[in-house]
Amino acid sequence: MFCFVLLFYFTVMRLTKPTLFTNIPVTCEEKDLPGDLFNQLMRDDPSTVNGAEVLMLGEMLTLPQNFGNIFLGETFSSYISVHNDSNQVVKDILVKADLQTSSQRLNLSASNAAVAELKPDCCIDDVIHHEVKEIGTHILVCAVSYTTQAGEKMYFRKFFKFQVSNITMVNSFYTDEVFLEAQIQNITTSPMFMEKVSLEPSIMYNVTELNSVSQAGECVSTFRSRAYLQPMDTRQYLYCLKPKKEFAEKAGIIKGVTVIGKLDIVWKTNLGERGRLQTSQLQRMAPGYGDVRLSLEAIPDTVNLEEPFHITCKITNCSSERTMDLVLEMCNTNSIHWCGISGRQLGKLHPSSSLCLALTLLSSVQGLQSVSGLRLTDTFLKRTYEYDDIAQVCVVSSAIKVES
C-alpha cells in the first residue's frame, strides 16, 4: 500500500489590527517597605512606557487573539500560510483562496500563478483582503494543489466559515418637508469613530449637512469631542434637502415616491481598522399635495402678543390640466385671528402656476401657536381645501422686545 507522507501545514489566520498591550501599574513610595523595588520592576518591564510607567496603555503591539467579529463594510484580511513540513521538494503548488457568499464566489488570491517548487521547511505566504459587502454566512475556501516528488497530482481544501453582521443600524426619518434625520447606532462591542457620514443626494436635490456649526470661522462638529460612538450609542445626523431649481419649478415632478440619495458612512475602530458602508437609495414618499398646494414663503418666528404680523403664502395649482378659480376663506381659531376680508376671490390659477398672497394675522395667546384656518374653495368643482397647522410662531408678551 502506498504510504502517504504528510506534506503540508496549512493555516489561515484572520488579521485584524493588532492591539496595544496594557499593563497593571503597581507603585509604591520610597518610604514604603519595598522601597524603589516596585518602581524598578515597572521600569524593567518592556511593556511599560519609558519614563511614564504608570501609564496603562503601552506601546507593545500584540497580535489578534481571536477571530473577533466581522461587520458589513469592514475589510476582511487573512494570512494564509502553507508550509512544507515534509523533507521532500514539492512542485507546482497552487494556493487558491475563494470566498463564497450566499450570492457569489470571489477569488481573493493575489496571484493565480503556481509556485514552481517548495523546498522543505519553506512556506508560501499570502495576505488576502476583501471588503465585505454582504451579510450572512461567508465561507473562505482555500485550496492547494501540488505535485509530489513521485509525480502524483494532489489536491486538498479547507473551509473557514464566518458570519458577517450588520455594523450600524441606519434608521431614516423624513420630516414633512425636506429634512432627513439619519440615526446611526453602533451595535458592535467596541467604540467606533465615525470618520464620515454624508448624504449623497439624488440628482433632484441639493443637500446641506446640519451636523456642524461655524465657530469663530472654524467648522466644529455638533458632537464636539465625542467623536466616537460607544457600543450601543445612537447618534442622529440631520440633513436638509432642497429640490433643485429646475425640479422645484415643475411641481408635478416631485410627486409620489422620490429617491433622495444614499448615506455614505466611513468608520474606523482599533488602530484605524476601517469600515465603509453605503446605504441603498433612500426613498421618500413625497407628501401628496392634492390639487392645490399652499406653502409658506415668509413667516416671522417670534411675534408680539396681540400685535398684527404678516405672512406670505404661495398657492400652486398642482393639477395637471385644470384651471382653478379660488376663493380664500380665513377662519379664526382660539389663538389666531386673521385680519382682513374672508371670502376673497383670488382669481383664476392656471395649471402649474402659482400666486403669492400676503396675509395679516395676530395672536391673542402666548406661547407656540399654530397657524391654522385657511380654506381655499375651487368654485368650478365646489371643492374646498383645508389648510391647518401650516406653521408655528412663538408668541411673546409685548413687554419683551422682539428682535427682528
Binding site: 502517504f4 488579521l15 518610604k31 518592556p46 502524483e152 486538498f156 482599533n270
Partner: protein, 746 residues
C-alpha cells in the same frame, strides 16, 4: 477563525470541477442550507478532498486550526485556580501551626499561644527568660555574620533621630533587644537595613523586663529555617525596623495579663484585663508595657514638647491623613483619656487576617512536568518562601527575582507572626507600621499576579482604610506624639484601583475621588501655611515646600489612577481630560502622556486627533535633545502609519528606532508584528527569536511570547516543540510569577 468543521456535511461549492464527485460534495452543492457545524468539530476527512485516493492520511495534518481565543492577562481562571487551592492549603497549614514542636513550646503561635494566655505573669517572665537562650543569643552572631547588611546598617545609623538611640526598653514581639524608636517609626534607611548589628549593644543591656510571651519564631519557622541564623535574622529584621508590637490578642499573647515586672514610678496605668474587651467592644490596646517604659523615659521631663520633637518631620509629612469625622471623634477620645478605656465599636476596628494560607505554586514547573517530563522539571529551581531568610531582606530578594508568589507567601508568614495569620480575621489585633507595610506588599503582589479576588478578600477587613486603629493617635503609648495614618499612601491607591480589575470601575473612581479630596485638602492646608492636618505649624519653609512637593505628586498619582480607570471604562473623553491634568502634576512626562493620548485616539480610530497629538509631542521633544525624545517621535510616526493601514512605512520607522537603539524591545516586537501583516512570517519570526535570544532576561515578556507562539502556530506543525523550547527558556530565567498563559501550551 473557525474552521467549517463538521465533516460530511461540509459543502464543497467547488465540487463541480472535480471529476470524481464524492457524495459529500454533492451534498456540498446545497450550499445555502446552513449545513456547517461551527466550532469544535475538527475537520473530517471528507472535506479534504484529494485527487489521490490515498490522500486520506493528510487529514490528520489539517486538523489544526489557527484561531483560538487566548487571554493574555488577568484571566479570572487564574484566580479561580488559586481559590481552588485554598481548601487543601488550609488543611496543610493548620497542623503545622499546631504540631510543630519548637524549642519554646510556650512561645508558639496560635493554639499553643493561647495556652500562654493562662500563664501567670511570673510564668510569662520565665518564659521570656528563655528567649535569649534560644532565639536571642545567636541572633547577634547572625547579625555579625552578614557583613554586607551590617555595613548598610551602620550607614543607616547616623540618620536615626536621637530619641531612637536611647535604649528605651519597649517590648517587641520577638525580642526585647532592639530599642523602639518612638519618634522614628519607619524610615527608609531602616527598612533597608536587614540586621541592625550596630544597634545591638543597647539592647544587650536592656533587662528583659518587658515580658512578652513572644511567639517563637524559631518554632514557627522551624522547618523553613533550620539554622538558627536564619531565624534570628528574622528577629533582627523585625526589631530593627521598629516592629514595635503592642500586646496583640490576635497573636494569642496575653499581653495585658503580664505586668511590667520592673515598674517605673508613674505606671499606675493598669492594663485593661483582656476579659473587658468583649467581642462587641474593644478598647484601644492600652499596651501597658510600652507605656510604662515611655513613661519612664519621659518621666523626668515634663517638657510637653519632648514628644512633639520625637516625631520626625518626615513622618509627619508622609503619614498625614485627614480622618473622617467619626474616626476623628474616636481618636480625640483616645487622646483625652490617655489610659482610660475608650470603647470602640468592634465594627470600627480593623481585624485583618490571611484568607488563604498558601498560594505557593509554580505554574512553569507544572507545565514542565506535563510537557517536558519529570527530569526536566527537576531542573527548575526557583526561590520559595523557605529558601530566603524570613525577613524584609528575603522578601525583597523574592520580589526582585520575580518570585512574587513566594513573596506573597513570605508576607503571609511574617503577618502570621504578627498575629494576623490565617483565620485571624475578625479577631482583635493591633497594628504597627510594619504590619501595614507587610499587608501592602502582600496585596500589591496579589494584584500584580492578577489574583484580584484574593486581594479583595484580604482587603475587606480594612474597610475604607479610615478606621481609628489605623491611626498612630490610637496608640498614644506605642507611638507617643506621632500623628497620622499607618496606611501607606500607595495602599490607598491600590485599594481604589483593585475594584476596577474586579469589574467595578465606578467604585474605583469613587474611592479615588475620596483620596483626591483629602490630598487636595492637605495641599490647601499647606498652602495656607498650616500643617498638613490643618493644625498650626512650626515647620520651616523648606519643610513646607518638601511637603507640598510630596502631596502634589501624590495628587498627581491619584489623577493618573483616575485616568487609567477611565481608560479601562472606555470613557475616552474623560480619560483624555484626566491625562491632560496629570501633565500639570508631572510636567516631565508631558511627551509620554501626549503620545499616550495620541494612542488612545488611534485606538478609537480617530486618526486625525492622533496626528494632532503626535505633532504636539514633536514640538515638546524639540526642546529636549537626546535619544529618548527621538525615539518617541519615531514611534509615534510608526503608529500613525499603522493607523493608516500602511504597515510598510510603520515597519520602516520601527526599524529606524532599532538603528538608534538596537535593544529597544517595543520597536523590535512591533517591527516583527508589521512584518507579519506584510506577509513575511519567516522574517517576523526571525526578528522576534533573535531578540529573545539576545537578552532572554528582558525580552521573555508575555506580550512578546504571545506573539511568538501565535506565529509558531501559524507557521508549521512544529509549533508544539517550539513552544516547549520557549518553556525551557522561561524556566531558566523567570520566577514563579511568570504568566504561563502566553505560551499557549495548555
Amino acid at each position: 477563525m473557525e474552521d467549517a468543521g463538521g465533516g460530511e456535511e461540509t459543502p464543497a461549492p467547488e465540487a463541480p470541477h472535480l471529476p470524481p464527485l464524492a457524495p459529500a460534495e454533492q451534498q456540498g452543492l446545497l450550499f445555502q442550507e446552513e449545513t456547517i457545524d461551527l466550532g469544535g468539530d475538527e475537520f473530517g476527512s471528507e472535506e479534504n478532498e484529494s485527487v489521490s485516493e490515498d490522500s486520506s492520511p493528510l487529514v490528520d495534518k489539517l486538523n489544526e486550526h489557527m484561531m483560538e481565543s487566548v487571554l493574555i492577562s488577568d484571566s479570572p481562571n487564574n484566580s479561580e485556580g488559586d481559590a481552588g487551592e485554598l481548601g487543601p492549603v488550609r488543611d496543610e497549614a493548620e497542623p503545622r501551626g499546631e504540631g510543630d514542636p519548637g524549642p519554646e513550646p510556650e512561645g508558639t503561635l496560635s493554639p499553643t499561644g493561647e495556652a500562654d494566655g493562662d500563664c501567670a505573669p511570673g510564668d510569662a517572665l520565665e518564659d521570656k527568660a528563655t528567649v535569649p537562650g534560644t532565639g536571642g543569643a545567636p541572633r547577634q552572631d547572625a547579625a555579625r555574620e552578614t557583613p554586607g547588611s551590617e555595613a548598610e546598617a551602620e550607614a543607616a545609623l547616623p540618620e536615626q533621630t536621637p530619641p531612637a538611640a536611647d535604649p528605651v526598653p519597649v517590648c517587641t514581639i520577638f525580642s526585647q533587644r532592639a530599642p523602639p524608636a518612638p519618634g522614628d517609626g519607619f524610615e527608609p534607611q531602616m527598612v533597608k537595613s536587614p540586621s541592625f548589628g550596630g544597634a545591638s549593644e543597647a539592647p544587650a543591656r536592656t533587662p528583659p523586663q518587658a515580658v512578652q510571651p513572644s511567639p517563637s519564631l524559631s518554632t514557627f519557622f522551624g522547618d523553613a529555617a533550620a539554622s538558627h541564623s536564619l531565624a534570628s535574622d528574622f528577629f533582627d529584621s523585625f526589631t530593627t525596623s521598629a516592629f514595635v508590637s503592642v500586646s496583640n490578642p490576635g497573636a494569642g499573647s496575653p499581653a495585658p495579663a503580664s505586668p511590667p515586672p520592673l515598674s517605673v514610678p508613674g505606671t499606675e496605668g493598669r492594663p485593661e484585663p483582656a476579659a473587658t474587651r468583649g467581642p462587641q467592644a474593644a478598647a484601644p490596646p492600652a499596651s501597658p508595657e510600652p507605656f510604662a517604659h515611655i513613661q519612664a523615659v519621659f518621666a523626668g521631663s515634663d517638657d510637653p514638647f519632648a514628644t512633639a520633637l520625637s516625631m520626625s518631620e518626615m513622618d509627619r509629612r508622609n503619614d498625614a491623613w485627614l480622618p473622617s469625622e467619626a474616626t476623628r471623634g474616636v481618636l480625640r477620645a483616645v487622646a483625652a483619656q490617655q489610659r482610660g478605656a475608650v470603647f470602640v465599636d468592634k465594627e470600627k476596628l480593623t481585624m485583618p487576617g490571611l484568607r488563604f494560607d498558601n498560594i505557593q505554586g509554580d505554574a512553569v514547573k507544572d507545565l514542565m512536568l506535563r510537557f517536558l517530563g519529570e527530569k526536566a522539571a527537576a531542573k527548575r529551581q526557583v526561590l520559595n518562601a523557605s529558601s530566603v531568610e524570613p525577613s524584609f531582606v528575603g522578601l525583597k530578594q523574592l520580589i526582585s527575582c520575580r518570585n512574587w508568589r513566594a513573596a506573597v507567601d513570605l508576607c503571609g508568614r511574617l503577618l502570621t507572626a504578627h498575629g494576623q495569620g490565617y483565620g485571624k480575621s475578625g479577631l482583635p489585633t493591633s497594628h504597627t507600621t510594619d504590619s501595614l507595610q507587610l499587608w501592602f506588599v502582600r496585596l500589591a503582589l496579589l494584584v500584580k499576579l492578577g489574583l484580584f479576588q484574593n486581594a479583595e478578600m484580604e482587603f475587606e477587613p480594612f474597610g475604607n482604610l479610615d478606621q481609628p486603629d489605623l491611626y498612630y493617635e490610637y496608640y498614644p503609648h506605642v507611638y507617643p506624639g506621632r500623628r497620622g495614618s499607618m496606611v501607606p499612601f500607595s495602599m490607598r491607591i491600590l485599594h481604589a484601583e483593585l475594584q476596577q480589575y474586579l469589574g467595578n470601575p465606578q467604585e474605583s473612581l469613587d474611592r479615588l475621588h475620596r483620596v483626591k479630596t483629602v490630598c487636595s485638602k492637605i495641599l490647601a492646608n499647606l498652602e495656607q501655611g498650616l500643617a498638613e492636618d490643618g493644625g498650626m505649624s512650626s515647620v520651616t519653609q523648606e519643610g513646607r515646600q518638601a511637603s507640598i512637593r510630596l502631596w502634589r505628586s501624590r495628587l498627581g498619582r491619584v489623577m493618573y489612577s483616575m485616568a487609567n480607570c477611565l481608560l479601562l471604562m472606555k470613557d475616552y473623553v474623560l480619560a483624555v481630560e484626566a491625562y491632560h491634568s496629570v501633565i500639570t502634576y508631572y510636567p516631565e512626562q508631558e511627551p509620554q502622556l501626549l503620545s499616550g493620548i495620541g494612542r488612545i485616539a488611534l485606538q478609537i480610530g480617530d486618526i486625525k486627533t492622533a496626528e494632532k497629538y503626535f505633532q504636539d509631542v514633536e514640538k515638546v521633544t524639540q526642546k529636549l535633545d537626546g535619544l529618548q525624545g527621538k525615539i518617541m517621535v519615531l514611534m509615534n510616526r510608526a503608529f500613525l502609519y499603522l493607523g493608516q493601514n500602511n504597515f510598510a512605512e510603520a515597519h520602516r520607522f520601527f526599524t529606524e528606532i532599532l538603528r538608534m537603539d538596537p535593544a529597544n524591545a517595543v520597536a523590535n516586537n512591533n517591527a516583527a508584528v508589521c512584518l507579519l501583516y506584510l506577509g513575511k512570517l519567516k522574517d517576523s519570526l526571525r526578528q522576534l527569536e533573535a531578540m529573545v535570544q539576545r537578552d532572554p532576561r528582558h525580552y521573555l515578556h508575555e506580550s512578546v511570547l504571545f506573539n511568538l507562539t501565535t506565529m509558531y502556530e501559524l507557521e508549521s506543525s512544529r509549533s508544539m516543540q517550539k513552544k516547549q523550547s520557549l518553556l525551557e527558556a522561561v524556566a531558566s530565567k523567570e520566577g514563579d510569577s511568570f504568566n504561563t498563559q502566553c505560551l499557549k501550551l495548555a
